[in-house]
């Protein structure tokens, strides 16, 4: 095991890197568009940079519809991308199907949000795992042993008790473990976990998250952890990235981003999270949000900074110029895409 035990430890080898990743979903054309040249599209993801390293968890946080799942699917090559590049071990990869896709899938695996839906109700656990092993020729000589090893790895012991069950006979947490085991069947280097615990009960979430962390350490995996619960990002991830309306707005190591958020949106997000330590009734409607709490249309996203219509600190410049990544300086690697931190521009 060469993994780093500490989140602050130097980052490992880069496994997967997204550079300027962009995805626009075309919108069905209407009659009046027939005569215009421009095609409407949902700008689901724009210019996303992201690096996954061995033995590290990167959290991607953002509200619903901000494009988190799209990023994950792009990274899993389930969608063709509109622009940008995905590099696996520094090599640009575009796979569409067939053998190439399998080869890619063997190294990058995805876990879905809903453990109730991501297992086929008509197949047993054995079938799911056997397929995962066989597709990638990881079954070896002894299939049963491989299956047992897989289940043990996700702490479903004794394995025999689970192998011949159907998904509906398992609890949510157990199902999500099976889903993880299936992903591990490919023996991947990177795991893309799209809200892996949001559908689970509070009391069992922790178990799954701990399992993922444990795997990261033992198998030296690179994990992308997608969530809308910023508190769990703090707890679980080494690095946290915040997305708003298809764009990255802030990034840095988790503790810094959650404790000293720089971008107004991140601040809004953190202020909105329930806090048991706050006094009952001590809730002022957030003066931090100038809008009605709703995200903008992604078909015609706001110009400049996408958050400017809601931003309490918006400046005229915010509505015209697209903010670039700016170092905050309070901790290494902490950045925000916000003109507030543009020292040069402020002068």
């Amino acid at each position: 095991m060469t993994s780093t035990q500490d989140a602050k430890a130097p980052a490992g080898e880069v496994v997967l890197e997204a550079i300027g990743l962009t995805k626009h979903f075309p919108v069905r054309r209407r009659l009046r568009d027939l005569f215009s040249k421009e095609h409407d599209a949902v700008h689901a993801v724009d210019d996303v940079h992201l690096t996954l390293r061995r033995g590290q968890v990167v959290a991607l946080v953002g509200e619903s519809g901000s494009g988190k799942s799209t990023v994950a699917r792009l990274l899993a090559q389930l969608y063709p991308r509109t622009g940008g590049d995905i590099q696996l071990h520094g090599r640009s990869t575009t796979v569409k199907g067939g053998r190439n896709f399998r080869g890619y899938a063997a190294r990058v695996q995805m876990i879905f949000q809903d453990p109730f839906a991501s297992l086929n109700p008509v197949h047993t656990i054995r079938y799911h795992l056997t397929r995962a092993l066989k597709i990638h020729h990881n079954a070896g000589d002894d299939l049963d042993a491989a299956l047992a090893a897989l289940l043990t790895r996700v702490s479903l012991t004794p394995p025999e008790r689970y192998l011949d069950k159907f998904p509906h006979e398992l609890s949510g947490g157990q199902r999500q473990r099976v889903a993880i085991a299936r992903a591990l069947g490919a023996d991947p280097e990177a795991l893309l976990a799209d809200e892996p615990v949001s559908m689970l009960d509070v009391s069992i979430r922790l178990g799954v998250l701990n399992l993922l962390r444990d795997l990261k350490e033992r198998l030296n995996l690179a994990i992308l952890y997608i969530t809308h619960d910023i508190a769990s990002a703090r707890y679980f991830a080494d690095e946290t990235l915040v997305m708003y309306a298809g764009r990255m707005v802030e990034g840095g190591d988790s503790e810094t981003v959650t404790q000293t958020p720089a971008h107004p949106y991140t601040r809004l997000l953190i202020d909105s999270a329930p806090d048991p330590d706050r006094l009952t009734g001590d809730i002022d409607p957030l003066e931090e949000d100038r809008g009605n709490g709703e995200p903008p249309s992604l078909i015609r996203p706001p110009s400049g900074c996408r958050f400017h219509p809601r931003c309490p600190a918006a400046m005229p410049r915010c509505s015209t110029d697209l903010p670039v990544r700016l170092e905050i300086g309070d901790a290494p690697g902490h950045w925000a895409a916000c003109w507030l931190y543009d020292k040069a521009g402020a002068q």
Partner: protein
Amino acid sequence: MTIPTSSIEQVIPGQGAMAQPSAKPAKAKRQRFLFVRNTKAATGLVVLGVYVLLAIIGPWIAPYDPSGRSNDLVQGPSAAHWFGTTHLGQDIFSQILVGTRSVMYVGFLAGLIATTLSVLIGVTAGYLGGKTDDSLSALTNVILVIPAIPLMIIITSVLNNASDTLIAVVIGLTSWSWNARVLRAQTLSLRRRDFVEASRASGETTWRIVIFELLPNLTAVIASGLVGTVIYAVLSEITLAFIGITSNDGWNWGTILFWAQGQQALGQHAWWWFVPAGLAIACLGTALSLINFGIDEFVSPRLRSAGKTKLKTAAGHTVRMRIGFTPVLENSAAPHTHARVISTPVMREAK
């Protein structure tokens, strides 16, 4: 003709609210028995079983040659001829028995053909989407628009000496479109389910996803479609036979009705010539419909006719279970379980 009345199908057109292959998925093995435990399905299966049995042994146990003439012309039911005789002295009971095979054969063969086609076209269209979907859907719609019975009449007359098999093929070829539409809609909704996406992400090939991931989840819909088309095929075959488009030789219930109508049996008050064949069709149809109800209820248990719906309250009133007004069986504040209050506290810290 009658539109197959499976609710699964009826539900489809309005996108959205459809009997999803249950969120609480088929409790595979145990539920397979549950299906048979459904009274409707069980009744239907038993009746169908009898028909299948008759289809197999009918020709052997028939007391007479169904075409054999005798001198008992147009005789009512008697000990010798249970269902009476025709204008040629043929035994109608034997004709019914012998005819069962053709009806069942055509019904099931046509059902199988139509179902296979509908699965191929519907699932492909639904899963692949895009241009494939557009063109397959267009094909489906065109077939749906063309009136089926006249089309069958035309096609059967193109093919001379239509044998049972040919008739079944023709019926099968003209009656897949409705099910294909249903299946396409179902596949569309399944395609977006995570487990399909997940097996794609884990590297499964497209055909494996379709065959091993999608199809098993469509079994109820397919089965219901099959049963629906069998009913439809049986009715179509009988209709064709009734208007004189029939196989070369051999009997089916439609042929019996054809002769009865040609000989104006009812004008001669020979009701026995008409009634048995009609009832045989109706019972077979009912049995198949019952099976379909069973499937519907199996897929979406809500549809099950509520088992026991009348309840006795503690006070002795009868109340009905209904939506919006939960019955109150007992209206007292007495606790049900008796929790104990321990007088001497047992204090012990866990390890």
